[in-house]
């Protein structure tokens, strides 16, 4: 691994070296390193680029890292990864994509992740997006996630995109069986001319299923953000979606929460708020001795923390 790849790896996976446990590192379109464990198997897909990650039922406290690194300008790829998480598992999956583009051509990674979460399994999924490079080439990522949560299972998705990605369209859809729970926490910061779109569709099919989709974002400069969140309550279930955005400079933010109840026992809430940093927050921090810029930074960092 070279320094650029090392930096990307640090940013997307908070890893300084190859991780513990199972992992698959994809660098510039190739599988660069892989490790499997007794409980977690990783195999190449036969018909498509990508891998299957198979986690044995009952696997507890294990993790899988699947970072994707791109440092070659002009590389465009679509990768299909499927996760089969057995019954009663309790695992952490860390995915992430780092692009370093100092060339003039667009580098693009589109990942399609499908999660099949078995009965009563618990999954924590963490995904970070990061890009840098001083070239004019665009850095584009379009992740798509498809989630199927079986009875009593629980999944927490944490996605973060703080820096450097010029354009991103994230699509997430989930289907929940009885008593399944999905929690999504999304954090986005865009600046310059960046564009970020997220689109969630959650079908609460099972009795007692619940979903909570929370997005916090900051849009600076001339950047644009769009947030769509659709929750369909098809049974006795509860759903909550919340989008909270800070808008700065000449940015544009659209938030469209949509809730549909198809059952009399569905209880659904949506909240969306867009606003600039409250003047009194800036003033309070300035009375503590911070400059206006420092105050702004503290407020934004706290908000996205």
């Amino acid at each position: 691994m070279d320094t650029i790849e090392r930096t990307l790896l640090e940013q997307v996976a908070e890893l300084h070296e190859v991780p513990e446990g199972a992992y698959n590192i994809r660098a510039n379109g190739q599988s660069a390193a892989r490790n499997t464990t007794a409980n977690i198997d990783i195999v190449n897909k036969k018909d498509l680029p990508g891998i299957d990650i198979i986690i044995k039922p009952g696997t507890k406290n294990e993790s899988v890292h699947i970072p994707v690194l791109i440092s070659q300008t002009g590389l465009k790829e679509v990768v299909y990864n499927d996760f089969f998480i057995g019954e009663d598992c309790d695992v952490t999956i860390v995915a992430g994509c780092g692009i370093h583009n100092c060339g003039d051509q667009t580098s693009q990674h589109d990942g399609v992740h499908r999660f099949f979460v078995g009965r009563n399994a618990r999954v924590k999924y963490v995904e970070r997006h990061y890009a840098d490079g001083d070239g004019n080439g665009q850095r584009v990522m379009n992740p798509e996630s498809v989630v199927e949560l079986d009875e009593g299972s629980y999944m927490e998705m944490e996605t973060t995109q703080i820096k450097g990605v010029d354009s991103t369209a994230r699509k997430t859809s989930a289907k929940l069986a009885d008593k399944a729970t999905l929690i999504v926490r999304e954090k986005i910061m865009t600046h310059g001319q960046q564009f970020a779109k997220t689109d969630f569709t959650v079908d609460l099919n099972g009795e007692g299923s619940s979903a909570n989709v929370i997005s916090r974002s900051v849009a600076k400069d001339q950047s644009r953000q769009e947030f769509f969140s659709r929750i369909n309550g098809n049974n006795a279930c509860s759903g909550h979606t919340e989008c909270d955005a800070i808008i700065m400079d000449q940015a544009h933010v659209t938030a469209v929460p949509e809730i549909t109840a198809n059952s009399i026992d569905a209880s659904l809430i949506h909240e969306a708020a867009i606003g600039k940093i409250a003047g009194e927050q800036l003033i309070k921090l300035m009375t503590l001795g911070l400059t206006e810029q420092e105050a702004e930074e503290q407020i934004v960092n706290g908000f996205l923390k």
């Binding site: 916090r216 909270d244 409250a278 009194e280 927050q281 003033i283 309070k284 921090l285 300035m286 009375t287 503590l288 001795g289 911070l290 400059t291 206006e292 503290q298 407020i299 960092n301 706290g302 908000f303 996205l304 923390k305």
Partner: protein, 241 residues
């Protein structure tokens, strides 16, 4: 020492102009200075003028001989002015610890942050990592606001109705907080208040009504008139006291 010289503040709306502060001249040099007076009298506006949040229409503000009228909020804070808001501000994401640390102006350990919180009667371990958001009650926010001023420890501290929302049990502690604070910073503490118990510890009392100084003097000079509801103080205020 803080000197206010001929401070006026006027707001202009399309319909009319309104003078909220009228030619106020004051010297604040004592340990505890209480500012009292009816609602709408101009107390909070005066505090904001001192902190630099509001620019006066006319007049000068002198801190320890230096004219700070043209300094902004940040510069005044750095010169040693602290201001506890009447209505504390909530922050999504920032924790109690973050705010105390920012107030201290340097990295502080958990135990130091906890000390400040316990001084205002908050059990530190329950609060230190709480977000300063809508989940905190008004009284809790007020105490955190005071803890920030203690953490700053500057030579001039202005508290705008610190007792509001604080239950009576902790009220005597609040006075102890001010006394302890004074020992440490050896500066002036200005407290906007309607509470007799606060007025009772004041070295100087200033009565502000209708944007004007109605009375200013030692406690012994001003308090009897206030309590009797005589003199220039209006009866609304007398009722409050």
């Amino acid at each position: 020492m803080l000197e206010l010289k001929n401070i006026s503040f006027e707001v202009n709306t399309p319909e009319h102009s309104k003078e909220i502060l009228k030619d106020i001249s004051l010297t604040i040099n004592e340990r505890f200075v209480a500012i009292t007076g009816p609602n709408g009298g101009g107390k909070s506006t005066l505090a904001k003028v001192i902190a630099g949040i509001i620019k006066p229409t006319t007049g000068r503000i002198i801190l320890d001989g230096e004219d700070i009228t043209d300094l902004d909020i940040t510069q005044r804070a750095q010169k040693g002015v602290s201001f506890a808001f009447q209505q504390p501000v909530r922050f999504k994401g920032l924790t109690v610890r973050d705010l105390i640390t920012l107030a201290a102006g340097k990295p502080i350990g958990v135990s130091e942050a906890c000390d400040y919180l316990s001084e205002v009667g908050l059990c530190a371990k329950d609060y230190i990592n709480r977000e300063v958001n809508a989940s905190l009650s008004g009284g809790e926010l007020k105490r955190i606001e005071i803890a920030m001023i203690i953490a700053r420890g500057t030579k001039l501290s202005v508290f705008d109705e610190p007792e509001a929302g604080i239950d009576l049990w902790s009220f005597s502690n609040l006075i102890q907080v001010f006394e302890k604070m004074h020992e440490k910073i050896n500066g002036s503490i200005m407290i906007i208040s309607h509470q007799e118990r606060i007025l009772n510890i004041a070295d100087k009392i200033i009565v502000l009504a209708g944007g004007q100084v109605q009375a200013a003097g030692t406690r012994d000079e001003v308090l009897p008139h206030l309590l009797a509801g005589t003199g220039s103080v209006c009866s609304v205020l007398a009722d409050k006291l």
